[in-house]
Symmetry: C2
Subunit: 329 residues, 2 copies
């Protein structure tokens, strides 16, 4: 395994120290227990938004800590849930009297540990569960995975919290955004997990995997490699079957790279997906293209749609000032 | 070659169309000849800043078109110089009466074609040549290559142009920034050029290449793979020998990924480089970490230092609003 690394055990901490130095105007790192918090909290009392999960998906979540998005993020080791004490310490550091909202991707370990943290906290809490990955059926026993749509929930809730929305209002808004956000991904390759020293899975040179998760979890189908247009069609048709959208529906179209897919390819995917949805009569009102929810160095991408209304558009457009997402301020 | 692609010949245009759609608030695409321009030019007359070069380095240069940076960018095919008619048409589209400044990476084709465009234009022009890659000796017959430092020249000149600096002033400022910017890179792997269908070069599993160019040009040395600390030391010592900095010198430290290196690794490299320079008594005043000047899907990174003074810091901090770099507005 040829990666920039000193030791598997120190990679995350060394990297987080660099991250905190590079963005010292925005964030602060707490080492023990490990969390990243906004350097400067909002001056008025607001609900504290906290997310977290295994590392290896950068910039998610640490890159989204800052004004108009998260107040803190708790990174676990690579592809490993953070622990309740991280969440508890993060919450105690950024809670300002209006309660705490946890934004949690639907993985058993994450869900359990955030639940434990919520129980230990002596302030009001709510949790929004993100399960946007439609590659698994809705009835799947552990539910659907939270993937690239998570940042959309974080962005929109961040804006609403900044405006002073209360805990119950944020919980309801977050559930609405999560319910209206769907994602499906495709892998061209596996990803190299440092602790394994090699790829999580192998795909033959002529195969790709539809519906892969952001840890390399198996998806729906391993299919023949095909043209970009064919691949985009496969992904978009799966989304269409899921949401059955009506003509004129406003959408946010997010094309997310898994790590080693070039921007040139991601913009190509965006062009083709834009064409697909426009032909179906959907109105692509907002977009986001780039490597935001990665799976280490996996080659591949996902397509996310959020069904928008005027309120969600306004909150999406609201100022955000974080290491990885920044506009309007 | 497993890449998201329909056809090698259409990749660039399809991708640029997606790029222009995703950032339609900021940029406009001209298809024939091919260039990307700011949608809305500054209201007052200002020097037009134009750059360009072969595609495959995204977000450089198209991602840096917008307020406070470039007025237009001319992408050639992958790793291929754009043609003079692209530069001429771009200049005619964005020139507003104060002349045109070309920012050119030092490659023979780029230099020649920008020169031809300048000759054909009937307005005053200047050119700033960027040759920040110290892996070649200063006396090299075709000079040093322009690499990741280019965006720093573009950002600082963009801010100065926005403030109303004249052509001569920008030329002098640009030369000063270019002279004070040095870069050296390291490759862990080659990159996959779509037209070749495979990698530009191969590195054995236990070797890395120091001083590699952003098209996979051979560097100084192929050496044994080593720890991140050792690799950073090798790169920083090469920079130190070149610039021989004095204690207390303010610097901008830019760690740039070549495409498929994770943010986790890049922040680790930043942490180690920050430590190296801090121990030497340098003052890391500003930083930038991410995949900004890529070599398609190459794994690797470069370290860039710009020696700062108060004027350069002020111009670096000035508002910028482009697809890939955005702050202060």
């Amino acid at each position: 395994m040829k990666k920039f690394i000193n030791h598997v055990d120190t990679l995350l901490d060394e990297s987080l120290r660099g991250f905190a130095k590079a963005h010292s105007d925005l964030v602060e790192l707490n080492s023990e227990p490990r969390f990243v918090r906004r350097r400067q909290l909002s001056q008025s009392t607001k609900v504290a938004l906290i997310s977290g999960g295994g590392a290896g998906h950068e910039p998610l979540h640490t890159g989204f800590v800052g004004k108009g998005m998260l107040d803190a993020a708790c990174p676990g080791q690579i592809f490993t849930s953070p622990t309740p004490d991280q969440m508890l310490a993060a919450a105690q550091a950024v809670e300002s009297g209006a309660g705490v909202l946890f934004i949690v991707k639907n993985y058993a370990g994450d869900v359990m540990n955030f639940e434990m943290a919520a129980e230990m906290l002596d302030c009001p809490t709510e949790t929004v569960l993100v399960q946007d990955d439609i590659s698994l059926p809705k009835e799947h026993e552990i539910g659907r995975r939270g993937v690239a749509g998570t940042l959309i929930v974080e962005k929109i809730l961040g804006a609403a919290a900044e405006e002073g929305a209360g805990l119950a209002q944020l919980k309801s808004l977050g559930d609405r955004v999560a319910d209206n956000t769907v994602t499906i991904g495709v892998a061209l390759t596996g990803c190299t997990v440092p602790a394994l020293g090699g790829p999580t899975f192998d795909l033959p040179p002529d195969k790709i995997e539809i519906g892969v998760g952001i840890h390399g979890e198996h998806g729906r189908d391993v299919v023949d490699f095909a043209s970009a247009t064919e691949i985009v069609k496969t992904l978009c048709v799966a989304i269409e079957k899921e949401i059955n959208p009506t003509r004129g529906q406003k959408i946010l179209l997010h094309v997310n790279g898994f790590g080693s897919t070039t921007l040139m390819e991601l913009y190509l995917i965006f062009e083709l997906a834009h064409e697909f949805w426009s032909k179906k009569g959907l109105d692509v009102q907002r977009s986001l293209v780039g490597n935001y929810t990665t799976a280490l160095d996996m080659a591949g991408c996902s397509i996310t749609l959020t069904l928008l209304d005027d309120e969600l558009i306004r909150l999406w457009d609201a100022p955000v000032h974080t290491p990885a997402l920044r506009w309007g301020c």
